[in-house]
Amino acid sequence: MMIRVELPQHLRTLARVGEEVHIEVSGQVTQRAVLDALEMQYPALEGTIRDHVTKQRRPFLRFFACEQDLSHQSPDEPLPDAIATGAEPFIVLGAIAGG
């Protein structure tokens, strides 16, 4: 399935892509499957969204989709159908912070 992923500006620059990328995910569409495929396609993003070893989300990043904050869901929980069908993007964004 072709999944749409929106990236924050700094990660777009790092991966040399536009605001939205399209990635192919086979099997069940979960956070883990989407991020694995994203990192496979854009190795420059490895370690920037999740820790290299623990695969935990970096604390100041959030995962939004379909007007929901999915950041605290299990990475193995299926994402909404609208993500799996490509109707809606899976959004990676940096939490707002000053400075």
Binding site: H10, L14, P43, T48, V53, L61, A95
Partner: protein
């Protein structure tokens, strides 16, 4: 025609400043990696076009960049810094054991002989090595696992390994410094490490002469005399002439011996530079006057260098990796401030001029001499 390239890391990007051998007029390129904290950039001594850069962010963690054309273009390289084996613990601020956690790369030190080999000093303190141009990194775990590692405690800035000195005469020997653990030496290429702190005195330690716990801010070395090291400690400017076996205090007539940077003139191994900072609780120059102090006698006797530097209302800091020297004759000296200025002296410190005034806070300054 000779020239110089100054690599400036700031809190919001990297800048590359270039000039010819006169070092009078400058081109400013950047920001590279705008918005990212650029802790350090350093070029290979054997291939000046090869530059490594540490790029980090509170949001996205550590990434690494490499240039093969002198900083015009960059490519992302490996950012997987994983401690070798069980991580163990060091002391936390409250004295409890705390597991080692990788946070960022503070310092990069390219090999003196191979452009694909580079060392990285990281927080929490450890040293990593790459032999494939930064694609992969392996820890030299003997340092973190050394006898004293579990006693190390971070300073206010974190448990950072910020100084790596490679011995030009003996490729198995290196010196490193960690805040606030101290200074260490290896004689076997990083397999084993020994604290080199005899002679250091730190009154903020329960035992002021303890083997570890000294907050070393920076160590500098002249290539012609690898056994002689100069240290700016939290307080005290120190010198050793036996590769760290024993240190002596050389603060002499400095107005304050607190500070962060220290460096050695390329052409005069006994000419050294520091920027005195008022105190550990007031990180700005004494009396609002930015002065580089120069000693031409390897310490003890110091003279203030003021020409071209602000002598009133100046309250910037100069961070530990933010001073460097070029290899020209006369030796150029450079430093950057938390106020975003990069000052250059083309005459060994006699006169100064700001190359740029308004960069983000400067974290690091390195210089490449181009011939």
């Amino acid at each position: 025609m000779s020239g110089v390239r100054v690599l400036v890391g700031t809190k919001k990007g990297a800048f590359i400043l270039t000039s010819d051998g006169k070092r009078d007029t400058w081109d400013v390129a950047g920001p590279h990696f705008g918005g990212w904290e650029m802790y350090h950039l350093k070029g290979s001594p054997v291939d000046p076009n090869r530059i490594y850069a540490s790029q980090s962010s509170g949001w996205f963690g550590q990434t690494m960049q490499r240039s093969s054309d002198g900083g015009k273009t960059w490519e992302v390289i490996g950012n997987k810094f994983v401690y070798d084996g069980p991580t163990g613990t060091h002391q936390w601020y409250d004295g409890t054991p705390h597991p080692w956690e990788f946070k960022r790369v503070w310092h990069l030190e390219p090999s003196l002989t191979d452009p694909d080999t580079v060392y990285a000093g990281v927080e929490d303190a450890a040293i990593f090595k790459s032999t494939d141009g930064g694609r992969t990194w392996s820890e030299l775990p003997g340092l973190r696992n050394s006898e004293t590692g579990s006693k190390w405690q971070p300073g206010a800035g974190g448990l950072c390994l910020h100084t790596i000195l490679l011995d030009p005469d003996n490729h198995d020997r290196m010196f490193i410094a960690i805040s606030a653990a101290g200074a260490f030496r290896t004689a076997d290429g990083g397999k084993s490490w020994k604290p080199i702190t005899k002679g250091l005195y730190s009154k903020y330690l329960p035992n002021p002469t303890a083997e570890v716990g000294h907050c070393v801010h920076r160590i500098a070395q002249h290539r012609s005399r690898p056994n002689t090291l100069f240290m700016q400690k939290h307080w005290d400017v120190m010198r050793t002439d036996n590769a760290g076996d024993e240190w002596t205090k050389i603060s002499g007539n400095l107005p304050t011996d607190f500070g962060f940077v220290i460096d050695v003139n390329t052409n005069e191994p006994d000419t050294i530079y520091v920027v005195p900072i008022k105190s550990d609780s007031e990180h700005f120059p004494p009396e609002g006057a930015l002065r580089v102090y120069r000693s031409k006698s390897g310490g003890h006797e110091w003279e203030p260098m003021t020409k071209g530097l602000p002598q009133k209302d100046c309250y910037v800091n100069v961070l530990r990796d933010a001073m460097a020297v070029d290899g020209l004759d006369k030796c150029g000296v450079y430093f950057g401030t938390t106020g975003g200025q990069v000052y250059a002296s083309p005459d060994g410190g006699d006169t100064w001029k700001a190359i740029v005034h308004d960069l983000p806070a400067v974290l690091s300054v390195e210089v490449q001499t181009l011939r």
